[in-house]
Symmetry: C2
Amino acid sequence: MSVLVPPQPAAVYVSRRSRLSRALAGEPAIFFAGDLVPRNYAANTYPYRAHSHFLYFTGVHWPGAVLLGSGDGWEIFAAPPAPDDPLWIGPSATWDELQAATGVRKIRPLGELRTALDSLRGVATLPAVHPRTRARQASLLGRPWGAHDEAESGTVALAGKDAELAEAVISLRLQHDAPALELLRQSAEGARAGHLAGMAATRPGRRESDVRAAIEAEFAARGMTPAYGSIVTVHGEVLHNEHSHHPLRAGDLLLADCGADCHGWASDVTRTWPVSGAWSPTQRALYDLVLQANQDATAMVRPGVRYRDIHLRASLTLARGLVDLGIFRGDPEGLVERGAHALFFPHGVGHLLGLDVHDMEDLGDRAGYAPGRARSRQFGTCYLRLDRDLAPGMLVTIEPGLYLVPAILGDRALCGPFEADLDRERLAAYADVRGIRIEDDVLCTEAGPDVLTAAIPRDADAVAALVGAPRDAD
Amino acid sequence: MSVLVPPQPAAVYVSRRSRLSRALAGEPAIFFAGDLVPRNYAANTYPYRAHSHFLYFTGVHWPGAVLLGSGDGWEIFAAPPAPDDPLWIGPSATWDELQAATGVRKIRPLGELRTALDSLRGVATLPAVHPRTRARQASLLGRPWGAHDEAESGTVALAGKDAELAEAVISLRLQHDAPALELLRQSAEGARAGHLAGMAATRPGRRESDVRAAIEAEFAARGMTPAYGSIVTVHGEVLHNEHSHHPLRAGDLLLADCGADCHGWASDVTRTWPVSGAWSPTQRALYDLVLQANQDATAMVRPGVRYRDIHLRASLTLARGLVDLGIFRGDPEGLVERGAHALFFPHGVGHLLGLDVHDMEDLGDRAGYAPGRARSRQFGTCYLRLDRDLAPGMLVTIEPGLYLVPAILGDRALCGPFEADLDRERLAAYADVRGIRIEDDVLCTEAGPDVLTAAIPRDADAVAALVGAPRDAD
Ligand SMILES: [Mn+2]
Ligand SMILES: [Mn+2]
């Protein structure tokens, strides 16, 4: 794979490494870019994306590369180009160009890494994500977690210097700098183009995959990729639905949760629209309620606010609306306290967003949960991925939803405590809603919320007007 | 991930397993589906695709699953569904449904695999592709290749029963059965739609990525994915060009090497077209020559023909044409014998095609090269991936090309022996050609070649007429 220079000036990466160095008081650290991953044989690989920590401090997608340093002295170690690279992969940036563009002191052959490490008395590191990289890292640095399953990445117990490095990196990456926000805004713009194309491509008789194709084509045209597996489905009640083979029928709602990866930086956006371009009264009622929850939650995004309170605020709006519609009976505050809202809103209101769509989830809840805070055990809130006090520069998603999930509404253990609160007859009238979610990317600023995805329509009438809009003549 | 039933009737997979069992004379074998692969953290995975051998014998994309059996008694071992799967991933096919749809005797929890293995006296296996799967496989079965780098997959020395299994699987997969051909034809149809959309989306001022997006959207709309990293570039002289950020200029040729993955089965198609919709005389001359080589080589595809002879036939057509154009001097046969053609055609004329775009390349040259045959050492022909005698049901690509590669034409070691044969002044007139390739998927039948990609235009005038054709109103 040929290596391109980073998308932003060297000063961006120099500054990040220097802030890290200060936080580490000069102690050395090492980051692994990760390796190419085979899809069905070694030479047929998945599209390469560098590990996020490496990317944050270098800006380059460089398979197998390693960043090592401390203070002002950072170096990249990488495999030298092969003699037949010019034939197969074309002209790469030279090491001189890459050195200048990343601002590192030097780029050296990987073969020299062992000696460089031996001259240090220990170096801090974070567990690599790819199993092959992790194994090499663990043996190179004498870490015990080489044999672990990468599914456990986030639960690796980090000790001593590694734990300090994790805290330092989290502190930096939690509050986005201006260059990060520049790319995050580009990513949100890609998401806007995608969702508009998806709405335009929707009409009864097509399939979910036609809409997904239209959305992802807008990403691809901008040189972006999906930041995560796109969810484009008329079965929005399946929260992580991966399939998109269902036909679109006139009475369906289509839920699209699609975000772009722009030079490694993610957007994460969900919109829901009616396949026919017209809402039924019941769909409209629940949609407007989700939108209200989205707006109530978004309005709370400002420094010092505890994110879990935003989750509870959205839950309260939803519970109140469900009482107004007669689906729930009783007192909304009491319903939320007891967790009744989770029957229809069984996930968290959002998460950190940055290089990763769940930013820094490779470090488990260490990034999402402030020290001393842990996950709730209540169904619904236990899925909340973030419980920090917000600070300027933090980017979070706000994504309330309402779902009629047979697996929940038919579960006696889950519904039992709330059966008396629930008017199932009234609920039955809303059977033409399976799942609705409205998700925005919201930056915390001193002045309050800055919605990066504000240009993507979410008002019910505006959305409906865009469905099947003539953008092409097919 | 929810697991879907296979795309074809159970009898397809029963028959393949039964043919394998006969070849193994009742000895047991085990195949691994491979695991989900993390992209940037454990829960954000690359799109899953089962390992090809597992897929061939079961038809299902089932992360972590294992197929074990012999004779008529085959079983799948898999992780039981998690209790909250219905919430997050929706309704999966049940194990009963999957058992019926794959025709295996039983589906059992992975936890029972160890005991099942202990009841056997050894079992044959092939090295898994994903490093995590490989490590588990190696420790489970006591194979020494657990720690190997997966890049070496194809060079793992298989011994005893494993080597016999490799030969048996290769024999089966070399000659495609009717159900395989059905999906391969669908894949070729996806490629047709993609290339036509790509031609239509081409116009000066756009970028390579716009065309790539148009092509891949046709795959996505059909529920297909790219079978390999699409190559869409005005720098066709870079053989494995991965980037698509260049602008399209009026005098450029655009080379698109894009194929679809349809339920795991690949197409692999290259077309080259002028960005402006009009060929220059020099571009046209070299294009027609590549087309002639494609046709001469395709015409040779029939049972009993040695594939290397097809490669040499294409090379001869190209050399003869280059002599006619005055770029080479002298005798075409002699030029090919000495390898002069490789200065402009530095790769093989094609490869096996099936589930993998380079079919069974996970087994190295064991699949592509008949016993007793090995790679040539001559520059150019050393890159030939296939040297077997063709047989009915074998599907190969035919993909001659002509490239003006600075890294070759400026290399004294490579060009030295041919400097006297080369008219560099005449060559300079062709500077507006950087790379041309025309690649088709050709099935060997008793009646001769059956070009699965025949519906994708390749005649110079036909191709030019499709460029920028109004398919949409943008
Ligand atoms: Mn989200
Ligand atoms: Mn090919």
